[in-house]
Symmetry: C2
Subunit: 400 residues, 2 copies
Amino acid sequence: MISYEEALDLINKEFGKINLATEDVELTESLNRIIAEDVFADVDLPPFDNSAMDGYAIKFNPERSRNIIGEVSAGNFKEYIVGENDAVGITTGSKIPEGSDTVIPVEDVSIENDILLFNDNAKLKKGINVRLKGSDLLKGSITVNKFTMINPSVIATLASCGKDKVKVFRKLKAGILATGDELIPVSEKPSHDKIRASNNYALHAAFQSINQEPVSYGFLNDDRNAIAEKVKTILDSDIDIFVTTGGVSVGKYDFLKEVFEESGVKKIFWKINIKPGMPFYFGVYQTTDKPVLAFGLPGNPVSALVNFYIFIEPAIRKLLNQKEKEVYKATLQDDIRKKDGKKHFSRGTIYNGTDGWEVKSHSSQSSGNYYELGNANCLIITEAEIRNPKKGDVVKCILI
Amino acid sequence: MISYEEALDLINKEFGKINLATEDVELTESLNRIIAEDVFADVDLPPFDNSAMDGYAIKFNPERSRNIIGEVSAGNFKEYIVGENDAVGITTGSKIPEGSDTVIPVEDVSIENDILLFNDNAKLKKGINVRLKGSDLLKGSITVNKFTMINPSVIATLASCGKDKVKVFRKLKAGILATGDELIPVSEKPSHDKIRASNNYALHAAFQSINQEPVSYGFLNDDRNAIAEKVKTILDSDIDIFVTTGGVSVGKYDFLKEVFEESGVKKIFWKINIKPGMPFYFGVYQTTDKPVLAFGLPGNPVSALVNFYIFIEPAIRKLLNQKEKEVYKATLQDDIRKKDGKKHFSRGTIYNGTDGWEVKSHSSQSSGNYYELGNANCLIITEAEIRNPKKGDVVKCILI
């Protein structure tokens, strides 16, 4: 059985072969997308010397009074030539009139008989409260780097560079199919030995949560021919990733890995030394123009979702050149039972304690217990070689 | 001038008067929405005693061999009565046959002449590898609490409770209008003393980022009559929040607060002892059936967005009963110049250092510099009474 790290390396390697396409989207629709071009300033930012305050523009000298010769406001510039004894009223963001180099804030002055007087505590220093042209960024320099995730302030920057449309990476398309004789539709009430099919909903949301494009194919019961036919159809559609749940363990009905291979998927590995989510199948289907990465996840709802968080999400982040998720070091608030040599990803609740981050491990850790997963906000990572982490140990956590 | 805390209290108080409406959405469209009902389990979870492993279901006794009398798999239950000497092959998730109480994993057994033999190292303990009916949750108990933000694992839980539709809080509708004579459309190239109108794009994205519904009204130049007419129309539309930028300082063209009041907005406060974002106007417009909260933000792109992060986002979180954003304590990597008695929210970059969180303050902190804001991932909070925090000081940060 391969290790978590080996499995992730193999997955990353195949993701690296995906050809990232791009598309142009409206700036108002670009939030959380990954930009696919370097964006350059087409003007200096700010585009002109301007005032950082409401006040008076002056030519610096030690005198503490001036004659007011006019006023300018943002977007209403008038030409003045400011001499040694002059001041021009100015509002925040207004262009600085010729001759002036300094702005005295309105709070620091008084006016008597049309003469501007600086208060005793007014700070008088050449250049204060003036934002120089190009001081944020010079024309021609990069304002937003390729692979930046677009957030509200990046959008402000893009707007200031004239980008009302922006080139972003196309979302990866992920087909999702759940399998299992035990599954019934969510709208039905389970009886006997049936459970509602929740995995396709959870994985659909998981791909949405990282801003990719899920396509749900619902679920199929364990009819090998029907599954084989569906799998082939999905593999030949326009998806980049194909995720199935169920049918990858060692039971009689666990034929999904065989179906994958009969459909032309080349197996990369099966089974990883982790818990939960050990019976994980990964293969690649090569169409004429692109690879489809095929993930056979376990049918357990928690296992499937944990596998998504620890393999698929990190691999997509890496493909899109995003930083790895932060690892939080937190003090464990209870013992964790871990007797085996697998790497564990246990559900926990992390919070800001009095003395740094603290994390509570959830009690059951049953891989069927999605109620508990729903209440978790992190996965606690325990390395394969560690046994039974104790209350007070510092453990690594990633937020989910 | 009121303090940050006083201002936020007053804003929270008015948000508290908003009547939160609800709507039903498809489960597949519910990600990141806030659930508006307690959801109860309509069946026990799991709905039946089932196996946690692929293996053999037995009735516990110290004997280390059994006769295999049949097999069951998930969704393919058959009735067996398991006696002291019997075993039934079972797959993960399958219902446990009558009489059995324990599952021995397939890895721990061998079969010789149809006789099941437990390996020497097989753990034999009553009840192992059986997930009891209702052990995750009993029928009738709450599975998802009202006000939970819906994430992928909550979606799995909702699916397992039969919710293919779910009641969530309606998104708040936020009108956005930028004002200023200096503004030109993003598609034009600025010359003279003009700048591109970026605030409406940034605030639009900011409301999207917290999953509310922005409505952009673009921008208007400083024509008082035109602005007054537009403001009145927007206030009387179906919005909950109205955000303007520009026109709230003390200059000649800063008439927006007067326009608000002439339109029937009742002023709650103007100006807060903070930096950036001091000239902040807040008022309430009472229509026949609901309040509209009116925010007059400064025209500076950074100030407007910082005001959003420190007032509007926290108030909406509180209204929706969400936890406050985590405050990270981080070691400052450079000095911050802060000579005044305002509470500062400086842009910074926080990262996981060798010895806990570390944060770099950005150099210019100019409130026009959105390029710098785009590269920041946090705001460093410096309390009003603190002066010049130094490299090595532990400071409070919130992620943006």
